[in-house]
């Protein structure tokens, strides 16, 4: 069995699966249940200053569902912990004492004054927690008060607060980033510049999950009104993956440890985040959907997959796909593929045909010799992958690499050599030699 033990900034955990700072980590009761279930670590739900914040007494959550009520996207308007600081600190101390082998990081959010951070860091240190995570991500409620994503959207603030924290604590400092920005690299660079030991991302995305068309108000609706919340769950994974990869491959932040967050539901999701540079992953929505027991398969699945692939430790996986992430302009324009439909697997639904016919390149037949028959017309196929995406049968349509000969679509010989946009004749800014 592969070794799933993780050493992230010196914080050790038996596996890379941490629960993100959120309702599942709000108190001792939940966290102990999580550790009993097998979670490698938790980031305790964000602590603020007393008096504690209050939450709405109406609904806090809303969801996007699949037809069978599978939860695809999740939205919340809950704030940071609404329990007294002292109670949280006491419980953190107790849990860390009882579970020394698990990671216990404490999420923090206080106003942007140095003394406020000094005060809270001092109190957290007394709990012997393993580290702190600076919550610069929450996009609702707290941001209206100049905290959370209001900080995360201003790189200078990120750098300033991070620097204070590094200066005033011996604990590792993780900076949690908001995705509600235009270029994730800038806040990551700011955190790095401030001395952050790691970044974690993504926090939730500004969202109105749906509109109640009877009340004519955003959902969840509080006495006839609604406010934007933060979006998370499986739907946000692609956004999170991209942001993680952007930071991992940015020369200015190269090597900065990343804790990946955003829609991690299965071991495969976790493996993908890790391949793009995440040293640990944090989970919330999946646990809130199914309960803590999902960690069993996260562990088994990741371990089995690593065994199958011959990876013996987590470190061998982390960042492995990062070198393959590039810019569009560096993609090989001489690489030609054509769709191939496996006629034995085809169930003749015709979705590939109508998708291609109506919205793409008219490259799939609907009929052949008077019979219902779907086949790729190589002369028209640009290899776009739309048919693969819409086909309901897995692996029925695949993309075949045409390595040599003539591309029937262009009538031109296939060039076996790599060539990208930087040298393409159509590029007004082309250069003589391809940039690789």
């Amino acid at each position: 069995m592969a070794d799933l033990r993780t050493n992230f900034l010196g914080i050790k955990s038996p596996n890379p699966f941490w629960l993100a700072s959120a309702p599942p980590t709000d108190k001792e009761y939940n966290v102990v249940r999580a550790f009993k279930a097998g979670w490698g670590g938790v980031v305790w739900k964000t602590l603020g200053e007393d008096p504690a914040v209050v939450n709405v007494n109406g609904p806090r959550y809303g969801a996007i569902h699949g037809p069978d009520r599978s939860l695809l996207g999740f939205n919340n308007i809950e704030l940071i912990t609404d329990r007294p600081l002292e109670v949280n600190l006491r419980e953190i101390k107790q849990v860390k004492r009882d579970w020394p082998d698990r990671a216990l990081v404490v999420s923090l959010m206080v106003p942007c004054e140095e003394q406020n951070w000094i005060d809270i860091l001092r109190r957290v240190e007394e709990t012997e927690a393993d580290g702190v995570e600076l919550n610069f991500g929450c996009p609702h409620g707290m941001s209206e008060r100049g905290m959370g994503s209001a900080v995360g959207q201003v790189p200078e603030y990120i750098e300033m607060v991070t620097r204070w924290c590094k200066q005033h604590t011996r604990m590792p400092v993780i900076v949690k980033l908001t995705p509600n920005i235009t270029d994730i690299r800038n806040p990551a660079r700011a955190a790095h510049a401030g001395g952050a030991d790691a970044v974690s991302l993504i926090n939730t995305i500004n969202s109105i999950v749906s509109v109640d068309l009877d009340q004519m108000a955003p959902y969840p609706t509080i006495d006839g009104q609604g406010a934007h919340g933060g979006y998370c769950g499986p739907a946000v994974k692609p956004i999170a993956l991209n942001m993680v990869a952007e930071i991992a491959r940015d020369p200015q932040t190269q090597g900065l440890p990343i804790s990946g967050i955003g829609g991690v539901t299965t071991w495969r999701d976790a493996a993908e985040f890790m391949a793009l540079g995440a040293g640990t992953v944090q989970v919330c929505t999946a646990a809130m959907t199914y309960g803590f027991r999902i960690v069993e398969d996260l562990i088994d699945g990741l371990s089995d997959w690593m065994d199958e692939k011959g990876y013996t430790s987590v470190d061998e996986v982390v960042g492995r796909a990062v070198p393959k992430v590039t810019d569009w302009q560096r993609l090989n324009l001489n690489y030609v593929v054509k769709a191939r439909i496996d006629q034995d697997a085809c169930i003749k639904c015709g979705r590939c045909h109508i998708a291609c016919e109506d919205t793409s390149h008219q490259a799939i037949t609907a009929m052949k010799d008077g019979l219902r028959h779907f086949e790729v017309i190589d002369e028209e196929c640009v290899g776009c992958n739309l048919c693969v995406s819409v086909c309901p049968v897995e692996d029925c349509i695949t993309m075949e690499h045409i390595a040599e000969g003539t591309d029937p679509r262009t009538g031109k010989p296939i060039d076996p050599n790599y060539a990208n946009w930087t040298t393409h004749p159509n590029n007004p800014n082309r250069v003589p030699e391809a940039a690789e």
């Binding site: 069978d68 169930i347 003749k348 639904c349 015709g350 979705r351 109508i354 609907a366 309901p392």
Partner: protein, 451 residues
């Protein structure tokens, strides 16, 4: 053999009141809202969908299923009614396993088609529960008068389509109620809670349709008279006769025409009043044979055997229908042809059958081996026939294979006379095919009247 026989065991009220309710509830319970959405999501929304091609009325099935999936069941029902105004009944009685569901591409993927029939029922039931009347308005009156003979699926479909175009329609129906086989023929557990009459009311709500029941062609009205009094005539009177066994003992008491018994069952206010034998033999291999066998079993018969002269593959009842019979405890015995009904005291006590074997040319020949089955009741379900007598004198309608001959537009050989449903040649004897006949004839009549 005869010595062992005692008085025939035929009784009413073999079951408790709860048994009757349970046995004659929906064979397939309707889908709930969530079930319907989940099932609807299984539809791939195929291009040029094979299910729609397979539907005799060409209902846009992917569209109506998508409308269920998006939470628009009323729009879904409108999509169905646009092609098939009796979509509610067809959802219940269509042999979907040999029509739309057989064509579903899911069969290729996983051997389990989308439950199109149940989804259609969900949409149409939802519509009917919320709306008593049709989603259409009649066109301005044309002043043209059309007569429809027979208020079954073909006649109702035709009458509705013509009334919608603004023509005045009169339906003459020989029985006391409209609906035809929907009211008198379909197995009770397929159309529960008087759905047939609710659907008739729904169809008639378009307006402009006058109904005259208890009025039979050849008895109360003549074709000649109708041609004289109306601008167009549509004949949809179905099949009035049943085939005879033509064996010794056919006139014994307890030898019963299945079609008549089912009609009685469908009209019965109290199922416990129906006479039910302990041992029952059903002769035949079609839908009527299955329907009588299952219903008599559900009325409390102890042993019910379907005897069919060919093998099971040759039965007109689909494999799916046969399965229903088998799961209801009916025994199907194949390759047995009736030879003699044995009676005692004027009442049937047993039936003697001969084992048949197909010869090398596929023709059935008797083997001489005799099989005798004890029976308190023997039901004949060996097919219905068209009775042309009612068409009367005057100019004769051309028949084709014993039924009314029609062209692609459902025109008969007589000017101004169209026909459809089971009474015409070349049909499939299905409710849905009759609806389509009525639709096609109505379009042709409307074109003729508008010319």
């Amino acid at each position: 053999m005869a010595d062992a026989l005692v008085t025939p065991d035929i009784r009413a009220g073999r079951l408790t009141a709860d048994d009757y309710l349970e046995n004659f509830e929906d064979l397939h319970p309707p889908l709930g809202v969530h079930e319907a959405r989940v099932e609807a999501d299984r539809c791939y929304f195929c291009y040029d969908a094979p299910c729609t091609i397979a539907c005799p009325t060409s209902i846009d099935i992917p569209k109506f299923i998508r409308q269920i999936a998006t939470g628009n069941p009323l729009g879904s029902a409108k999509t169905i009614f646009e092609q098939n105004i009796l979509g509610g009944m067809c959802a219940r009685v269509c042999p979907t396993e040999t029509l739309c569901e057989e064509a579903c591409v899911r069969n290729l993927a996983e051997d389990r088609p989308v439950s199109i029939g149940l989804l259609q029922r969900h949409a149409t039931d939802t519509f009917l529960a919320r709306n008593a009347s049709l989603p259409y308005e009649r066109a301005a009156p044309t002043g043209k008068r059309v007569v429809v003979v027979g208020g079954g699926p073909a006649g109702l479909s035709c009458a509705h389509a013509l009334a919608r175009e603004g023509h005045d329609v009169t339906i003459f129906e020989a029985r006391p109620k409209l609906g035809g086989l929907n009211e008198y023929g379909i197995a009770a557990y397929k159309t529960t809670h008087d759905f047939a009459q609710a659907e008739v009311d729904f169809v008639l709500s378009i307006g402009g349709i006058t109904v005259k029941c208890d009025t039979a062609l050849g008895r109360d009205i003549t074709l000649e008279g109708l041609r004289r009094d109306f601008d167009a005539v549509f004949l949809g009177m179905g099949l009035g006769g049943v085939n005879a066994l033509r064996t010794e003992g056919e006139d014994l008491a307890g030898v019963i025409d299945a079609v008549a018994y089912i009609a009685e069952l469908r009209q019965a206010q109290d199922l416990s009043a129906l006479p039910v034998g302990r041992k029952v033999v059903v002769i035949g291999g079609g839908m009527t044979a299955i329907d009588i066998a299952v219903q008599i079993k559900r009325l409390g018969a102890e042993e019910v055997t379907i005897a069919y002269r060919r093998d099971r593959e040759a039965m007109k009842a689909s494999a799916y229908e046969q399965e229903i019979a088998l799961t209801n405890g009916v025994v199907i015995r194949e390759c047995l042809a009736p030879r003699r009904l044995i009676g005692e005291g004027g009442h049937v006590r047993a039936i003697e059958l001969e084992r048949m074997l197909p010869d090398s040319a596929g023709r059935l020949t008797g083997t001489g081996e005799s099989v005798t089955l004890e029976a308190d009741q023997v039901f004949k379900a060996i097919g219905q026939t068209f009775v042309p007598d009612a068409l009367g004198g005057g100019e004769a309608l051309e028949l084709d294979g014993g039924r009314i001959g029609v062209d692609a537009d459902r025109r008969t050989s007589l000017t101004g006379v169209w026909a459809g449903g089971d009474c015409v040649a070349g049909g499939e004897d299905l409710t849905v095919a009759s609806v389509e006949d009525g639709k096609i004839a109505a379009a042709s009549i409307h074109a003729a009247l508008s010319a």
